[in-house]
């Protein structure tokens, strides 16, 4: 039974690490790195040890701080409660922390004030880990606030680089509006229920909504949506992912926005249990679909490597939200699976972007090219990530996106609602556009001609490549053994989200849920339509090896270094150039798909106008969306 202390110790280790970094690590780089790495490893090990009792044996861990257990049916103290859903997200968080800590050692070695970097990094990690395991709404708010501050600090960490401080300020303004909405919602809820414990709130609010609790729902929903950066709250995220150090961009997209997603799932599935209502499903799916589409189209218009990845990150979160909002067991499995895969492949892509930035000094796609010659290992990792996010079989992105389409289609069939059919089509189209966009990045940065300026760039050091390899392996592994992932991680988490009474009873005592009239609605097990990933893998490996060998070893003009005078001689085409030299030139990022962009000129002009960079406009979107959610809640929730 000693493992009931593990969740709290895991969170405390990270915060203690942050403290020790300041006290002991001010002057020594080795001590700093060691503390960060040790704290990350310890919390990873502690959370990993919970997999056996929680995921496999199906136990829910409850922990009362200072042993302030509930009295007379009222929760008094602050409680931690780790159910399968929370542990699922906690696993994502600790994996991200550990890999990012390893990557950071070499990545930030040239930056100044690294001790502050590690302090902020460890506090950010601790707050997100605390957020996904807490059982108290106010504690959740505190963790959200710590998360926002440290994230702002890390966004502006390289404060002399282009736009970093600006991005930090915008993040702070939008983030604190979101936190304020959450706090307002919590206050309204406390006024109604006189408790802050999630389990007790869940028991009280089950099918028992008054106008005040609906208002609280709308406010908390908006506040947590701001933290998951779905459209229209995505504007600071795009800036922050771009300007933060890449190890932190990975943390942002791997766990900080997952914390918002977790909060939304916890809110609609457990605390309010409003997700059974068709109107709430429509609301969430609507947000998710708009996020998918706007994210991916904005990504097509970008010229900066990391900003492009940032908009893709937003777009993929749209998939997660859409699938989770369907409120079927298949839908939630798809959403959680895609959340996990998004952590893996998007983290990998950001790490590759970081490796490129560290080696070449730029992330502008128009200035890169032909890096596969000089950085073959990074290229390989990048391709794995790009194939995963574009949903090619047998990578993990394919498995989860397939489940998303299937879940949305199933919903369309069972409800007969044309809206969900539209959602399915949008999801497929967005996936195609993601692939198109990654063809552009691959061509612009890694293939094609190498500019003379980049002729002697170096491959990233081994300590940076290690996390990239691990994530690549995980991307392939979770795609091939998706059934094992489903059995050990997704299925328990989905069951936990649908069996509210277990969550309540474990915290408040047996029979509490029944007394409050809580009934579980567990839908049947999802049926996957089966595909065989192994055959796909064999086919893929053959094609990929052939292509990779062609690209890396070819002797032709491809991958050539462009000299300043022009390119190589090629007698074959001399006739067509009237004896003049043919100039091989690099097809840069902005040239590919220019036809598509010209066709959609009007749309892109509107979108660029909306992403104006003015903080007042961004705040206006948040407030307008909050007003929309409030009006929607009062008009349609019954």
């Amino acid at each position: 039974m000693s493992y009931i202390h593990f969740p709290v110790i895991a969170v405390m280790t990270l915060f203690m690490g942050a403290f020790l970094t300041v006290v002991l690590g001010r002057h020594s780089k080795g001590v700093r790195s060691f503390i960060a790495l040790a704290a990350s490893c310890v919390s990873f090990a502690l959370i990993a040890m919970l997999v056996k009792p929680v995921m496999i044996d199906g136990e829910i861990i409850s922990y009362w701080m200072g042993n302030w257990a509930p009295m007379s049916g009222y929760a008094i103290g602050i409680g931690y409660e780790v159910d399968q859903l929370g542990l699922f997200f906690a696993l994502l968080v600790v994996t991200t922390i550990l890999l990012s800590a390893v990557y950071s050692i070499r990545y930030i070695e040239k930056d100044s004030s690294q001790d502050f970097y590690y302090v902020l990094f460890l506090m950010l990690s601790g707050s997100v880990l605390g957020l996904v395991m807490t059982g108290d709404v106010f504690n959740m708010f505190i963790m959200i606030e710590i998360m926002t501050f440290t994230a702002v600090g890390l966004t502006a960490f390289r404060n002399t680089s282009f736009g970093a401080v600006e991005a930090g300020f915008k993040y702070l303004v939008i983030g604190s509006i979101g936190s304020s909405f959450t706090l307002f919602g919590i206050a309204v809820l406390y006024g109604q229920c006189h408790t802050l414990n999630m389990a007790q709130l869940s028991a009280m609010l089950y099918g028992n909504h008054s106008p005040a609790t609906l208002m609280a729902f709308a406010l908390m929903f908006t506040g947590l949506a701001v933290k998951s950066y779905i459209v229209p709250f995505h504007t600071p995220a795009a800036d922050a992912y771009t300007t933060a150090p890449s190890s932190i961009s990975m943390v942002f997209s791997g766990m900080v926005n997952k914390a918002g997603v977790y909060g939304m799932i916890r809110l609609v599935y457990i605390i309010f249990r409003t997700v059974d209502m068709p109107s709430v499903q429509t609301l969430i799916v609507l947000f998710g679909t708009v996020t998918m589409f706007i994210g991916v189209t904005m990504a097509l218009a970008q010229h900066d490597f990391k900003r492009l990845l940032a908009f893709h990150s937003i777009s993929q979160i749209g998939y997660v939200i859409t699938a989770a909002g369907l409120c079927t067991s298949l839908g939630l499995s798809a959403g959680l699976f895609h959340a996990m895969n998004h952590t893996l492949f998007k983290g990998l892509l950001f790490l590759c972007a970081g490796a490129v930035l560290r080696s070449t000094g730029t992330t502008n796609l128009d200035q890169l090219g032909g890096l596969s010659k000089r950085m073959p290992k990074t290229t390989l990792c990048f391709l794995v990530g790009a194939f995963s996010i574009s949903g090619l079989p047998p990578f993990n992105g394919f498995a989860s996106k397939w489940l998303v389409y299937q879940a949305a289609y199933e919903k369309a069939v069972t409800t007969g609602n044309i809206f969900y059919a539209f959602v399915t089509v949008t999801a497929v189209v967005v996936s195609v556009m993601t692939l198109a966009s990654f063809i552009k990045v691959t061509q612009a940065a890694f293939f094609g001609q190498l500019p003379a300026r980049l002729a002697d760039v170096e491959e990233a050091p081994g300590l940076m490549l290690l996390p990239m390899y691990i994530m690549s392996l995980l991307c392939v592994g979770t795609g091939i053994f998706y059934d094992k992932v489903y059995q050990y991680l997704l299925d328990p988490a989905v069951r936990a989200a649908f069996t509210v009474s277990n969550y309540i009873d474990r915290m408040m005592g047996d029979g509490y849920a029944e007394a409050a009239g809580v009934e579980d609605v567990f839908a049947s097990n999802p049926h996957f339509s089966y595909w065989n990933p192994v055959i796909w893998l064999a086919l893929f490996v053959i094609v990929f090896c052939a292509a990779y060998i062609c690209v890396v070893t070819s002797k032709g003009s491809r991958g050539q270094i462009l000299s300043d005078e022009g390119g190589a001689e090629d007698g074959k085409y001399a006739t067509f150039f009237s004896g003049e030299k043919a100039l091989p030139s690099h097809v840069a990022g902005s040239d590919l798909f220019w036809g598509f962009k010209t066709d959609w000129k009007g749309y892109f002009r509107v979108m660029e106008g909306l992403h104006s960079g003015i903080v007042n406009d961004y705040a206006l979107y948040v407030v307008a969306a909050a007003a929309f959610v409030v009006v929607f809640t009062f008009a349609f929730l019954r």
Binding site: M71, S72, G73, Y74, F138, I142, E145, F149, V152, G153, A156, N159, F162, G163, V165, E166, A167, G168, F169, K170, L172, V173, S176, I177, S180, L183, F184, A187, V188, Y190, G191, Q192, H194, L196, Q200, M204, N208, S210, A238, D239, T242, T243, A301, Q302, A516, E608, H611, S612, G613, I614, V615, N616, A619, L620, V623
Partner: protein, 135 residues
């Protein structure tokens, strides 16, 4: 059922109206003012509005609210004897408000320090000119 009781509001409570007005004023300031310092002030006003709301939630002047210094047996005994369960000021919102005030102060400090940095880099505090990252 005891746990499902509602807050009985016999008269309109002016605190709640004032707090909502403060929040709306703060949001209006953030949306319309072009000066970064004023945007930060707007964030502060939103915080004050919410703090006022939380304190108002806990305050209850029915049945002579007093300081919340009781132990659980006294509390339950008196509740059974008098039938009134809310006869003291709820201590939890006060703790929440203190936390929230501290957080609000941190937000303001951090935002102002970022404004100083921004002013040094951009030589302006006008939001219309601080937009290098866009599109």
């Amino acid at each position: 059922m005891m746990m499902k009781r509602r807050l009985r509001n016999k008269m309109m409570n002016v605190n709640y109206i004032a707090s909502v007005i403060l929040v709306v004023m703060g949001l209006y300031t953030i949306i319309t003012k072009k000066n970064l310092i004023k945007v930060v002030l707007g964030m502060g006003i939103v915080d004050y509005g919410i703090n006022l709301f939380i304190v108002s939630v806990g305050f209850n002047d029915k049945a002579g609210a007093t300081a919340p210094i009781y132990n659980m047996t006294e509390l339950l005994g008196q509740a059974q004897a008098t039938g009134v369960t809310q006869f003291f000021v709820d201590p939890v919102p006060q703790a929440l408000t203190l936390t929230s005030i501290v957080i609000g102060a941190c937000v303001d400090a951090m935002a102002l320090s970022l404004v100083i940095k921004l002013y040094k880099q951009y030589k302006t505090v006008n939001t219309d000119e601080i937009r290098r990252l866009r599109g």
